[in-house]
């Protein structure tokens, strides 16, 4: 059937204006339009003028025409980075326009094309050394695509990489802070949401789309995503979250040996652990002993550094940091390691705070590190920690005309209101995680056919209802359980 541009735009307009359609009818209309667009010849897609088309009203024709134009320009110039798609070029601007205003429910039906566009966008932004230009637009676009589900998207790692390259971490936070509850398997990857009721032809097309290579999820994608996320939290000095994300990476299941990404994560985890706790935290038990041995072998300089830190051997810590500088630099951990001196001072002050309820700044200067060797420096340092909320301490100047200051560290000093607020914030965080988890379980139950209706249906088929009414003997119950198992397996096969 020959399609025309009028037919495409009419279908698209009908879809845009059909607010009263049920979800199924809307899906059917979308599918019809997608099928037409995929059948359309190049000449028809080339006729669609992106300049005069609204990306929000004609999302799908806009996307297909945009991808066609990108291909056309690349083929014509023989370059993967022609001027037209570079930042500021006309196709770049159209892509920005699209990503800023597309209809998410329509795009969720064309995962392959969506991935193609975002990959072009990521490629151009990174290869023109202008990653910043893509992060804000992509952040909003990914959130719009993932508005209701917390699904891992294979494009997530690429987006976080751009955030790291451009030092625009703020745009990653709304995405990082959403708990991922769905890791699509490679066969369903991008098109989990591409449910389209209809004929067998539709199912065949869906299958073809689902097995497209564009959206396949790999072990590396997941490891990279969590490592990049941890790096962003590290940049923001959110050590708790950084540590948690690194633990996810170092605990990933392995077949034979660990990946380079996991080794990198372990090295960072050692330093983050020192920065957060003043010592290496206990590694998760889920990590098998042979994996742990590999980590310990390849991260020896880091463990030696940690040993000096934990033993409060300041001289050795300085030496370790100095000697290991080429290693930290090669691992891109130099900035992280340099923060250990500050953490070392904090760790010392915290230890003193645990041992004494009060002491003077002069006393602290005697016991602290070389960088806190005077009462004035100690006061300045402790005051800055207390004022920024890192340390629970109070300062008390003793007299006018004297430089001595009393520091008070009692645990009970933390006000009841402050503790209550802290606990509330923590509960809220946990509550959000719980909410995501419960939503994920509900979705899984639906996917597995474990909703009330499905279970009732299965029970009915197995004659459970009658048995439940009549009461079960032991023998009968065993028969039924075996029967259910057989039937469930039969259904799967």
């Amino acid at each position: 059937m020959a399609e025309s541009i009028q037919q495409i735009l009419t279908l698209s307009s009908e879809l845009h204006n059909s607010r009263s359609l049920s979800k199924n009818d809307e899906d059917r209309h979308i599918y019809e339009l997608v099928a037409v667009l995929r059948r359309s010849s190049h000449s028809i897609l080339g006729e669609i003028s992106l300049t005069n088309l609204s990306a929000s009203e004609h999302t799908l024709p806009f996307l297909f025409a945009l991808l066609y134009q990108v291909d056309l320009v690349r083929n014509r110039t023989g370059s993967s980075l022609p001027n037209d798609i570079e930042p500021g070029g006309w196709l770049w601007l159209r892509a920005v326009q699209f990503l800023g205003s597309f209809n998410g429910s329509q795009v969720s039906h064309v995962g392959r094309e969506w991935c193609q566009l975002v990959q072009v966008f990521l490629f151009v932004a990174e290869n023109t050394s202008k990653p910043f230009l893509a992060v804000r637009v992509l952040s909003k676009a990914i959130l719009r695509m993932n508005r209701t589900q917390n699904t891992f998207d294979p494009l997530h790692p690429g987006f976080l990489r751009l955030c790291l390259l451009s030092k625009a971490y703020r745009y990653a936070i709304p995405i990082l802070d959403r708990q991922i509850s769905i890791l699509p398997s490679s066969s369903e990857s991008r098109d989990r949401s591409d449910y389209m009721p209809g004929s067998d032809d539709h199912a065949a097309d869906r299958k073809s789309e689902a097995t497209s290579t564009h959206g396949q999820l790999t072990h590396k994608d997941v490891a990279q995503y969590y490592l990049y996320g941890a790096m962003i939290y590290m940049a923001l000095k959110e050590w708790d979250k950084a540590e948690h994300w690194l633990i996810i990476v170092i605990s990933l299941p392995v077949a034979n040996s660990v990946s380079k990404i996991m080794v990198e994560a372990f090295k960072k985890w050692v330093v983050v652990s020192l920065l957060k706790h003043g010592k290496i935290a206990t590694p998760p038990r889920i990590i098998s002993s042979h994996v742990m041995k590999i980590y310990q072998t390849v991260a020896k300089p880091y463990l030696s550094l940690a040993d000096a830190f934990e033993k409060c051997d300041e001289q050795r810590l300085h030496n370790e940091v100095k000697l290991g500088r080429p290693v930290w630099r090669a691992d891109l951990n130099l900035g992280l390691v340099d923060q250990l001196f500050e953490a070392y001072n904090l760790s010392l002050v915290l230890k003193l705070g645990r041992a004494f309820s009060a002491l003077t700044t002069a006393n602290v200067a005697e016991k602290a590190s070389s960088s806190l060797n005077s009462a004035i420096r100690v006061e300045s340092y402790v005051a800055s920690l207390a004022m920024s909320g890192v340390l629970e301490a109070r300062l008390l100047h003793l007299r006018v005309g004297q430089n001595s200051t009393m520091l008070r560290f009692p645990a009970s000093m933390r006000s009841c209101a402050a503790r209550r607020n802290g606990l509330r914030v923590e509960l809220m965080d946990r509550g959000q995680a719980l909410e995501v988890l419960s939503r994920g379980i509900r979705e899984c139950n639906t996917d597995l056919g474990m909703g009330h209706e499905s279970i009732d249906l299965v029970m009915k088929r197995q004659g459970w209802s009658a048995i439940m009414k009549n009461g079960m003997t032991k023998v009968n119950a065993d028969d039924v359980v075996l029967g259910v198992e057989e039937d469930i397996m039969g259904d799967v096969s």
Binding site: R170, M387, S388, L396, R399, V400, N421
Partner: protein, 216 residues
């Protein structure tokens, strides 16, 4: 955002019309991409870029985004950052805030030659920083020497130490007390924000309801 919106006049209007620091931040934020693209042009508008980045930098400080302010200085065109006086002053200011050098912060804010366009926002930050420090000092110090308090709060430490009544009266008006014998000031902690408290109660009750709904 259209390119034509990004001009000296638009920037001035954004700074003067923003009702709150977060609105200023939200207004300036989308312009960063435009500024970034412009910075690659040979005939780039240096003054506009300098004013934009400095104003945007202050909007970060006014919304307490110190880390983001630091990252902004890394995203700015580095050649412009190294040659422009206003942006250099921003970097020096950031360093002083980072290192908790309160006297230096006030000195940079009050004595650096800021362009007229930026003066209102610089003044706003001076007031914001002073208020924030006052809350922190009130919370952390049980007793403080007048000169130290003056140094934290951007008052003249020497005249306060000599007993400048005007400066001390300002602090006493805030509920601080003064012990004549020791010469020390006793700050009064400033209460937490009650609205925030109420919001967290609502959020918490929703969580408890969620937990309750999953018990069965």
């Amino acid at each position: 955002m259209e390119a034509s919106d990004f001009s000296q006049a638009q920037l001035a209007a954004a700074i003067s019309s923003a009702a709150t620091p977060s609105k200023l931040y939200d207004t300036l934020s989308p312009y960063e991409e435009e500024a970034y693209l412009l910075s690659f042009q040979e005939d780039r508008p240096v003054e506009l870029l300098s004013h934009f980045y400095a104003a945007y930098f202050f909007s970060h400080l006014l919304t307490d985004q110190i880390y983001e302010a630091r990252f902004l200085t890394k995203r700015m065109p580095q050649d412009l950052l190294h040659t422009d006086n206003s942006l250099q002053n921003c970097v020096t200011l950031l360093r002083a805030i980072w290192q908790h050098k309160h006297e230096s912060v006030y000195k940079i804010l009050r004595e650096s030659p800021w362009p007229d366009l930026l003066k209102p926002i610089v003044q706003s930050y001076d007031t914001y920083f002073q208020d924030k420090t006052l809350r922190e000092v009130s919370r952390v110090y049980e007793a403080i020497r007048p000169a130290a308090a003056a140094s934290y709060l951007g008052l003249d430490p020497e005249s306060t130490a000599r007993g400048d009544t005007a400066a001390i009266e300002k602090l006493i008006a805030l509920g601080w007390t003064r012990d004549e014998q020791s010469g020390l000031l006793y700050p009064k902690p400033i209460a937490d924000d009650s609205q925030k408290d109420a919001r967290s109660y609502t959020d918490l009750s929703q969580i408890m309801a969620l937990i309750g709904s999953h018990r069965g």
